[in-house]
Symmetry: C2
Subunit: 247 residues, 2 copies
Amino acid sequence: MTTGADGRGLAGFARLLADPTRAGFCLALLDGRAWTAGELARAAGVAASTASGHLTRLVAGGLVVEERQGRHRYVRLADPGVAQLVEDLAARAPAPAAPPRTLRAASAGAALAYARTCYDHLAGRLGVLLHDALLDRGVLDRTGGLALTEAGMSWLDRLGVPVEPLRGTRRPLVRDCLDWTERRPHLAGAVGAALCGRFLDLGWTARGNGRAVRVTPAGRDALAEALGLDPVLLAAPATRVTGPARA
Amino acid sequence: MTTGADGRGLAGFARLLADPTRAGFCLALLDGRAWTAGELARAAGVAASTASGHLTRLVAGGLVVEERQGRHRYVRLADPGVAQLVEDLAARAPAPAAPPRTLRAASAGAALAYARTCYDHLAGRLGVLLHDALLDRGVLDRTGGLALTEAGMSWLDRLGVPVEPLRGTRRPLVRDCLDWTERRPHLAGAVGAALCGRFLDLGWTARGNGRAVRVTPAGRDALAEALGLDPVLLAAPATRVTGPARA
DNA sequence: CGGACCGTTCGGCGCGGCCCGAACCGTGCC
DNA sequence: GGCACGGTTCGGGCCGCGCCGAACGGTCCG
């Protein structure tokens, strides 16, 4: 019943994340997509055989689920709870001693700081902007905990995101998620995920490389309209020089 | 900024919990109290020298803070966030293969299943009962996320738990915490912690061994009154052999 | 002042697990 | 059919680290 009065269960579970390679896998999977075993191996810089073993352990431990298609082994985080766990742990982990910032990392960082997915919802400046706008519009309410208002439910409905189907799950409708780059909360939970998906479906946003997200030209005006914001606020990140990142 | 694109930071942090002894320390510290190094060593069944090294690592990693008094080294979890992290991880960890239930563990388990602290708030049947009663009384509201109502704030005020001082912190006022034994949510967050402390201050509850909590005779009537419940519901755990099967 | 007690440091031992390369299997494509 | 490719399995090497006991230092107390 209680999951082990001694620490063996907890330790065994934590050990899954206690290896740099496995931890790197999980961080990569935070983009919410399914990766193949080989992609993860290359991204982590280990041999395919090594990656294979790690994935088997992660699957056995319930952190990750796999789906075999032909000769590929697709793998993704088991559920949003796992994603949150990884985020929480990573947020507390001290930065690994003088991160060797390459130029590429820095410019990728700029795109990520502007907008990215946090597992399955929006993060970065865009995520925080969304969160703030929803508070301003009365979609969310914060007197005594974060909650979705009545007005918010019809707002979502008009956007094509009916709330009722989201209720069934054990997942909270709305939840705070502390933004790494902004150090302020953005919107997570079932509604946060549904909104992120809806924006992609509508073509208001599109995925960039990795976890990066960009706002499409059409999305810029539509989002501003829906949120009651000035479109200027949704301008792309500063590195306009090279044009928007490739889709 | 982002805490390490590679997994080294995360892995190093997770490794703190990846050892059964250190994990056991953290689980013990979930009672919210400060333990001495020796107490933890005995509880975990390791030599004092071993425990000393582990504690040094936990402190360096920020999971635990220490306070030296004379020849004692007192240690406790660094903050509620760490406690939540440990709880979340432990809840996901699979039970460690055939837990050797001793008689003593079983009877201690009964007390714990009735009422215990979950770091700094109430858990167990009592914690879930509290949570449900607060929903019934309209102190909490669950339409669209867990939130504290206006009525709830004045209810807390009458109880001697002013809400305003709780707002300053980054901690959410109210938060769900999944109960290990009941498999249903109980109340965590700043309000959950304040209530737990207030009940102890008022003498309505008292600490037992470890994380166990009991309701005092006076507290039984006072709690029932405050929550609008039948005092019978607050009866002690089933020393009464065939109590209702614990859900 | 001397003894009891708590905690730390150090040396040494042994296990576990992380890594790779090589060989093998199955799938998909030309 | 034959080749390219993704993934897995196996064996071997290596390093990290968790454990203990012994010795030492600091604190409290009689």
